[in-house]
């Protein structure tokens, strides 16, 4: 055994014990066949601050490097067919309004997909709801944008309007806190649509997957308008 990633893989019981491996911002998440093959003390000696076992899920807190460890372990496992299990998640529209493609967003960072792939809504109502169950991993203090992470580790950024950061929170009310678990359909942000219309560059609100490496394919339903909560895209996951 010559490298740390191999040692981590072995401490999780080896490739055959690992039908799924994933990571979020600070945790390496493994779904294992048999938790008895997992060696917590070795994981800790390899840098995990804590190891949490719940059912068949093993979460090792490796901090910021968790995602890199996942990447290295996936390379080690390589083409092992038992590891790739496609999963699908469905996103509801976080707002009511006209459905647009990201290329129609008047801001390069979104239209050129620098932040990731997704869609945009031109809202007809000043209300943002959760598109899917998840955890709030980011809430801007100005309340104009937030990040949601699904249980499967997909990170979704909802950004109300363009250049709304300059409104400095005026007209926005965040209804959730950092770290809070939310259910699909739960109200997250309320905003003054007229104020955004008159003060920001645009009301067009991008909804973007910021870690597209987790997504194999994004299927858009091709709607022209959507009601908040209406199914708008499905994601096929790369895990």
């Amino acid at each position: 055994m010559n490298n740390r990633y191999e040692e981590i893989l072995q401490a999780l019981g080896g490739p055959a014990n690992l039908p799924q491996i994933d990571a979020c911002i600070s945790r390496l998440r493994a779904t294992v066949q048999d938790t008895k093959l997992v060696n917590e003390s070795i994981l800790k000696s390899l840098g995990a601050k804590e190891v949490i076992v719940a059912g068949n899920n093993v979460q090792s807190i490796f901090g910021a490097e968790s995602d890199h460890i996942r990447e290295e372990i996936q390379k080690l496992i390589g083409s092992n067919p038992t590891v790739k299990i496609n999963r699908q998640i469905i996103l509801g529209s976080p707002m009511s309004g006209k459905v647009l493609t990201l290329s129609e967003v008047p801001d390069k960072v979104f239209s050129e997909k620098i932040l990731g792939d997704g869609f945009a809504i031109e809202p007809t109502e000043g209300k943002v709801i959760a598109p899917v169950d998840g955890t709030i991993v980011n809430i801007f203090k100005t309340g104009h944008a937030l990040g949601l992470e699904t249980e499967t580790g997909v990170e979704i950024l909802i950004h109300v309007g363009i250049d709304t950061v300059k409104m400095n929170g005026d007209g926005f009310e965040a209804l959730v806190l950092y770290g809070q678990k939310v259910k699909a359909g739960q109200e997250l942000i309320r905003f003054d649509l007229e104020k955004v219309r008159s003060q920001a560059t645009s009301t067009i609100s991008p909804v973007v997957i910021t870690n597209m490496d987790r997504v194999l394919q994004i299927h858009k339903k091709g709607l022209e308008t959507a009601q908040a909560g209406q199914e708008i895209v499905s994601l096929e996951l790369n895990i």
Binding site: I25, G63, A64, E65, S66, D67, H68, D107, K108, V109, I114, L115, G116, V137, N138, F140, K141, A145, G147, E149, E155, L157, H159, V165, K166, Y178, T210, N211
Partner: protein
């Protein structure tokens, strides 16, 4: 190779969506791991969501640690971004 440098954030509105996106985009071609530290929080510099969750404001000092074969090229790219104050062009 590991390189470390501290940068003062001077972009107008802090490390919000646009600068975080540009930061990650500039690192994407390089085989490196990047850690960004502010007030004791360490975050993955190749993750947009992770960077935004630092809540960095103008005037904050960000300690950036780049590890990997391409560390010097990656750090140069970050230096350029800070020098241009994250303006997109």
């Amino acid at each position: 190779m590991t390189l470390e440098k501290t940068f003062k954030l001077e972009s107008q509105d802090g490390l919000h969506a646009r600068p975080a996106g540009l930061f990650v985009k500039c690192l994407a071609p390089y085989q490196v791991t990047v850690e960004v530290e502010l007030r004791g929080q360490k975050k993955n510099g190749k993750s947009i969501m992770s960077l935004m969750s630092l809540g960095a404001s103008p005037g904050d000092d960000l300690k950036i640690t780049v590890t990997g074969n391409d560390a010097d090229s990656a750090l140069k790219c970050i230096e350029d971004l800070f020098a241009k104050r994250f303006s997109a062009e």
